[in-house]
Amino acid sequence: MNIAIEIIYLIASIFFIFGIKKLGSPKTARKGNLYSSIGMLLAIVVTLSDQHVLTFEWIIIGGVIGSLIGAVLALKIKMTGMPQMVGLLNGFGGGASLFVALSEFYKISPIIPINTGIAIILSLLIGSITFTGSLIAFGKLQGIVTGKVVKYPLQHPFNLLLFILVIGAGVYLLMNPGNVTLVLIITFVSLVLGVLLVLSIGGADMPVAISLLNSYSGIAASTTGFILENNVLIIAGALVGASGIILTLIMCRGMNRSLMNVVLGGWADAGSSDGVSTDQGPKCDVKSVDAEELAMILEVASSVIIVPGYGMAVAQAQHAVRELMLALEAKGINVRFAIHPVAGRMPGHMNVLLAEANVDYEKLFALEDINNDFANTDVVIVIGANDVVNPAARHDKSSPIYGMPILNVDYAKTVVINKRSMNPGYAGIDNELFFGDNSLMFFGDAKDAMGKLTSEIKNL
């Protein structure tokens, strides 16, 4: 073990820790990311000077290919495609850990100490699940794989069986350290497990799935660190693992659901059983409004809160929303944004889109910071959000989203809901908000509708 290399790894770890610390505020976040990338550069350069690295041609080939793909992906992706991008990157991280574990197995087999053996098995398991699970998550977000909850008979017992199979093969491998077949079985079954686990998670639960896979990619890196007995891998991986777990818990709390409930695909049944109340619902009672009328209502308002949801992302309406904000502000109206923790398809999704459209982050408020202000607000404009503003979550014990913290938009004097149609949200349940006395439906594609509304306001 070379002392100089170890010290540089320690310095790299410190850069990672400071980098994440600086991510705590929008003012210093960019510097934080830079610190963390310097840590990575240090770790890479010093590894290249390691006495075990003897040939460079494969490293150069791999490094160039990987960097090019990474750079092209990062620079080409649209901000609305960010959930897919993050999903895909998680997958590559998991895949890298999987390959390192396999490579290490072939290198040291058949003499494998028990602690290294355990680390290899865990690395194969977690790396594989992260890899295929992230690819499925990417497929769901990209629309290649169905966004619905996929169910099949004996789903949970079958997944459990696969898991036991991996553990069993793992234990057997520890007793027969050189057995290649067992390693391939562990890898293959774990890859299948990754597909099945994410396939059964619905589109609206993607924020949880993405955060969880993020955490796995870190833990996979950590287990690789245990194989190589390398502290920088363990530390960096643990930081990412912790980050992913915290985000996962925040997302679960945002939906008032346990992690188990999300992972096992909870909301699927609720949607279909609600078909009865759909028939009873007074569908015709909604009041709809056009851009011109709405502009007149807004003209006399003094405070407006905009509530964006996944619909804004789908319609790529963030720039149109900013134009609307500017038009309202030009009339002296106070405009703020209320962001629900699970709005969109990943943590912080709405914030990134609005930042892209140049909306000041100080105008964006989290649920707990703005929820008491709705009662003093003249007009709330809900754009492509649904379940996160459904008042049934507060009082209807039979509703599948009962207990979920929601934005209390119905307390405002007027609520305007922009939607394409009367279809229910992703939880598949009706929203009583639409039928409220103070509710107005403003139908249309978010981008077009906001564009029309903005020009009407300017014409006043």
Binding site: F16, G19, I20, L23, P26, N33, L34, S37, M40, A43, I44, T47, H52, V53, I59, G62, G66, I69, A74, L75, M82, V86, L89, N90, F92, G95, S97, F99, V100, S103, Y106, K107, N115, N214, S217, G218, A221, S222, G225, I227, L228, E229, N230, N231, L233, A238, L239, V240, G241, A242, S243, I246, L247, P347, G348, N351, V352, A355, E356, Y361
Partner: protein, 96 residues
């Protein structure tokens, strides 16, 4: 000897998890997406293991797997940092 060095690694892991929890609970919701992509880039630290695998002297199946690992980890590292920087550039306080 084996046991103590392995225990040291577990020490490091557990303490790093606690550091992670402390740091990340302070990140505001507005930055959750860049936090995810940025921490994702950090998980590309697997590149260290990948380089050790791909740089072995003899060319074996282990080297091929190392090459694949280098490609994947570099996508993770370069893609992660660049896309995070792209996002963070947009989080500016607007001067009016």
């Amino acid at each position: 000897m084996y046991v103590t060095s392995f225990l040291m690694l577990i020490y490091v892991f557990v303490l790093a998890i606690f550091v992670g929890f402390e740091l990340i609970t302070k990140v505001p919701p507005t930055l959750h997406t860049p936090l995810m992509s940025g921490s994702n880039a950090i998980s590309g630290i697997t590149i260290v293991g990948a380089l050790l695998s791909a740089g072995a002297e003899e060319f074996t199946i282990s080297t091929i797997l190392g090459l694949l690992a280098v490609i994947f980890a570099m996508i993770n590292v370069v893609g992660g940092y660049l896309v995070t920087d792209r996002m963070l550039k947009m989080f500016k306080k607007k001067v009016r």
